[in-house]
Amino acid sequence: MEEGEAPETGTLPLDAWHRARGGRMVEFAGYWMPVQYEGIIAEHLWTRESAGLFDVSHMGQLFVSGEGVEAALEAVLPIDFATLKPYGPRYSLLLDENGGILDDLMVTRWNSGFYLVVNGATKWEDIAHLREHLPDEVTLTHLEDSALLALQGPKAAEALGRVTTGEWPLSALTFMKGGQFKIAGIDAWISRSGYTGEDGFEIAIPAENAAQIADLICAQPEVKPIGLGARDSLRLEAGLPLYGHDLSDETSPIEADLAFAINKRRRAEGGFPGAERVQTELASGAPRKRIGLALDGRQAAREGAQVFVGDEKVGALTSGGFSPSLGHPIAMAYVAAAHCEHGTSLEVDVRGKRLPARVVSMPFVPHRYHR
């Protein structure tokens, strides 16, 4: 979700809602969005111990349907629909012909087609790309009248369960399962998923009801609104890559350590954009890899900082910052394959100073999904 270059900054359905709650608004992905309310560290820690409500309505919600939709989507995504059951979101990648990542996205099978959630900053390009590559019989609808919220944290299930009704209780959902529910009598598509490493839910609702539903969820004692700043520090601790920073058309799925997003049958059969590179790198390894770095002390290293072994430059950071949960800086970097072993000692250049860093496994903070 790189910052957009839209000529005019858009407003999202909850714009006034954020401002009324003291959200500090910044431009992000072409929209005004809250970067923080009370402070990033407080919001981050609150999400880890209770529940935080995120507005992610900038993301693109798409619906793809029509005759032959499965085959058409398999031609543009490395997904295996034979193994995708209804209502469970699955992580996938939009790849170019060279195996570069155009976007990462969630794909869910609904009754009459597929529901896709793509990054906000890339959604217009994604829509154009999909329309170009999908056949005429397949229709892509941009669900622009839908808002998207995420409620994340160990108390999210308790808080959201209290205001949700449905054919099944909300607690019937496990990680990466979804269903149709009602909140205050309003239709809501809810999946047990998110971008913080915590248990939690993503909630699609009509834009016109977004403020009412956000009010209701935030009225639960476990819940506070959380801004983009903590969303970024939470996802970094969870080891989850951010498109435009840790992923781009310059990085391949194998370099990005996202081989799991290339479904098993597709690895063998290919038939998706960039398959040749993916298969080659699966067989013989990629020249570099996305890894996690832990730094001592308190000084953070950030995106763009170069990674060294002695005088040799071996990589660069794509994300980095102070980890509020761990109390020391962490980072993601792309590093030459020879230096990616866990425990390897590396150095990061920050304004001419070499900070010692260690390759560690990700997530930095263990995931606590409800499986």
Partner: protein, 123 residues
């Protein structure tokens, strides 16, 4: 003791040839949670408008420009363990470094408190 302010939101308090530098409450509120402060060492020569100090927040690293030229006599050692002092007490206990001024006449171009408050009100 007279205290002056810059358009970059630093303050400098002058006591004869010595001066103490920090960032204003407005600056810390804009930066958010401060997690690390890179301070100049005693003996370092600083030049007005250059950045001998960097304040790290969760979001970004921000330069702190020296409001005057001189030699660093001391940095605030308490910030090594408690960088959040810059958030909680920016204009007193969260000071950054002390200088022996080399050209006190540089201070005449800075704002006094009333002028700075008006400047911030206009932002």
């Amino acid at each position: 003791m007279p205290r002056y302010y810059t358009q970059d939101h630093e303050w400098i308090e002058v006591d004869g040839a010595s001066a103490t530098v920090g960032i204003t409450d407005y600056a810390q509120s804009q930066l958010g949670d401060i997690t690390f402060v890179e301070l100049p060492e005693a003996g370092a020569i600083v030049v007005k408008g250059e950045a001998p100090c960097v304040v790290d927040s969760v979001k970004a690293a921000s330069d702190v420009y020296s409001p005057a030229s001189g030699t660093v006599s001391e940095s605030n050692a308490a910030l090594a363990d408690e960088p959040e002092l810059v958030n909680t007490d920016p204009e007193s206990g969260g000071w950054l470094f002390r200088l022996t001024l080399s050209d006190p006449s540089e201070l005449t171009s800075l704002m006094d408190k009333a002028a700075y408050d008006a400047f911030v009100a206009g932002l």
